[in-house]
């Protein structure tokens, strides 16, 4: 097993009587990309800023690259890179000038050309930062975090405000970091981003980690079911075997397409079953279609999305009263 890049046990941070972080445990292996998900005010940024050495903690053990960020020196800062949620480089400097001065802060920086190429800003190297688009400025942010040749990168909502194309480009770039062997702690609001980029996901709510693991682990933890749907004209509800009929029913709500916590729902033309037992359900459906002498071309089987899982987890935490402050 690889040695941990980040090891956190029982982390607490209080502001007066408010407990922003209430006992977080976190483990990020070397070379891993971990997505840190959670609603606003859940303690995400506070936790990350403690790991970056910007904030003190009230209690708990924290080790980042083998050192305590609260006391780590400048040699430790040589080994980390940080992309803040909001930051704005000097608008009157050119792109290459900005990366060059940043490189001067580190003892063993990456070559400037290589960094610009890595983030796709080679053509803009002579352009003033103030004239870059929002997406290009964010790429410059990433360039500044990478220029020191970090072992560990903190990415705080790196694609917020991006259009879909820019987001895809950023993903490709972050994916590329994996090949460089960089460990990444990625904070994001976007479920698809976490699913696409991360090896593992940790969900935080009300200062506590409420779920962790791969997207599949999380779906299991949230008892999320697979969604099977088809056109009711191909296999009508009344023709279903008895054991399936109980899990699917006609809904009066047009346009309803099934949601977590609602075991079944039906649009006027579509029937939906949410189930853990995918193969038996599909086999029974195919059998019914065969018996009726019909094709079931409209059959759709959808595994739970991370977004469904996340909303379900946060909803559970909310229901448990953990979000009440």
């Amino acid at each position: 097993m690889k040695s941990p890049a980040i090891e956190v046990t029982g982390l607490h941070k209080s502001y007066g009587e408010i407990e922003a972080v209430a006992g977080v445990d976190l483990h990020v292996a070397e070379g891993e990309i971990l997505a840190f998900l959670g609603p606003n005010g859940a303690g995400k940024t506070t936790t990350v800023e403690i790991l970056e050495g910007f904030r003190s903690r009230t209690a708990g053990q924290v080790s980042v690259l083998g050192q305590d960020p609260a006391t780590a020196g400048l040699d430790w800062r040589e080994r980390i890179g940080i992309v803040l949620q909001e930051s704005q480089p000097e608008e009157f400097l050119k792109v290459a000038e900005t990366v060059t001065i940043w490189a001067a802060y580190f003892s063993d920086p990456r070559p400037i050309d290589e960094v610009l190429q890595l983030v796709g800003l080679t053509e803009q190297s002579d352009q003033r930062v103030g004239r870059l688009s929002g997406g290009q400025q964010r790429r410059l942010d990433l360039a500044l975090a990478l220029v020191g040749n970090p072992e560990l990168l903190f990415l705080d909502e790196p694609t917020t405000g991006f259009d879909p194309t820019a987001r895809r480009e950023a993903w490709a770039m972050i994916d590329g970091l994996r090949d460089l062997g960089v460990t990444v702690l990625l904070t994001t609001h976007y479920m698809d981003e976490a699913q696409h980029l991360a090896d593992r996901i940790a969900v935080i709510a009300a200062g506590r980690i409420i779920a962790r693991g791969t997207a599949e682990d999380l779906a299991e933890a949230a008892s999320m079911q697979t969604r099977i749907s088809w056109d009711s004209q191909e296999v009508p509800l009344a023709e279903l075997p008895e054991q399936l009929r109980g899990t699917a029913a006609v809904s009066d709500d047009p346009g309803e397409t099934g949601s977590p916590g609602n075991p079944f729902s039906v649009s006027p033309q579509r029937l939906v079953i949410l189930t853990d037992d995918v193969s038996d359900t599909v086999a029974a459906l195919l059998q019914t279609a065969g018996r009726l002498g019909r094709n079931i071309n409209s059959l759709e089987v959808l595994a739970p999305t991370l977004e469904d899982t996340y909303l379900s987890l946060i909803g559970e935490a909310d229901r448990a009263g953990r979000l009440d402050r």
Binding site: E52, G53, F54, L74, D75, R77, E78, I80, I82, L84, E86, S87, Q88, P89, E90, F92, L93, E97, T100, I101, W102, A104, Y105, F106, S107, L144, G148
Partner: protein
């Protein structure tokens, strides 16, 4: 200082100096505005001989405008740039890198000194070439000490002042609110005379700008009968500098105000 620290300081100074020149507002307020003031003052009040044997009236404007240049280049520029960097999270990001904080800040201080030297020479040359103002060479060592102390003191005060500026847009108005009235009571535009109300000179005496301006007058006005080493003015300025440095050590913020 390590050679790496020196290299970093040189690189940071180059960047800060470049930024000052590329930013139209910053270069206007630090370089162009003092020049305009010098031209306007001499246009308004003329440049007659103060006594039949001299000096010219402009010999009283030149040191005042050099004092203004020192304050603009150190106190005002340093505070505006630092508040901007704090509020746009540049300072926070820099704190996340291995550069020593004082090396990073040293770039701005060195830039202030470069501008102070440039403006002092420029004013002295314009004074001599255009307004017949002679530099008193025997006072030059004292002038240099004054500029060195002045630069350090107003840089420290500029950094200290960032604590009271809430955001980047309020930087320039906050600073002007402080320096503009003080310029009037600090011998910057027009030197105090026997007719100047005592209250005005008293207020001026409390704050460091007048001490800077008065110390600089030694270099250009032969009628000032004080010594060439204005130690009292230096001490008052230094006291303000120490107070500023203490505020910086205790309360300086690297992160934006939430």
């Amino acid at each position: 200082m390590s050679s790496r620290g020196l290299r970093q300081l040189a690189a940071q100074t180059r960047v800060d100096f470049t930024l000052l020149w590329r930013n139209p507002l910053a270069s206007f307020f630090t370089v162009v505005l003092p020049l305009i003031f010098l031209f306007v003052l001499t246009a308004l009040f003329g440049n007659e001989l103060v006594t039949p044997v001299g000096p010219r009236l402009a010999s009283r404007f030149v040191p005042g405008i050099i004092a203004l240049s020192v304050v603009q280049a150190s106190f005002v520029n340093l505070a505006v740039v630092t508040v901007f960097r704090r509020e746009t999270s540049i300072l926070k990001r820099v704190r996340g890198t291995p550069i020593r904080p004082w090396v990073f800040m040293g770039g701005l201080v060195a830039t202030s000194y470069a501008v102070i030297a440039l403006m002092a020479v420029l004013m002295a040359v314009i004074g001599w070439a255009v307004y017949d103002v002679d530099l008193l060479w025997e006072a030059v060592p004292g002038l240099i000490v004054t500029l060195v102390i002045g630069g350090a003191v107003f840089c420290a005060l500029g950094l200290a002042f960032t604590n009271v500026v809430p955001n980047e847009t309020s930087g320039p108005p906050f600073l002007n609110l402080v320096v503009l009235p003080l310029y009037f009571v600090s011998d910057v535009y027009v030197p105090a005379s026997d007719d100047t109300p005592r209250a005005i000179t008293l207020i001026g005496d409390i704050f460091p700008i007048r001490h800077l301006a008065v110390a600089l007058q030694r270099g250009f006005d032969p009628l000032t009968d004080d010594s060439l080493w204005p130690v009292t003015n230096w001490l008052v300025m230094a006291a303000w500098g120490v107070a500023g440095a203490l505020v910086v050590t205790r309360w300086f913020r690297w992160t934006p105000r939430d």
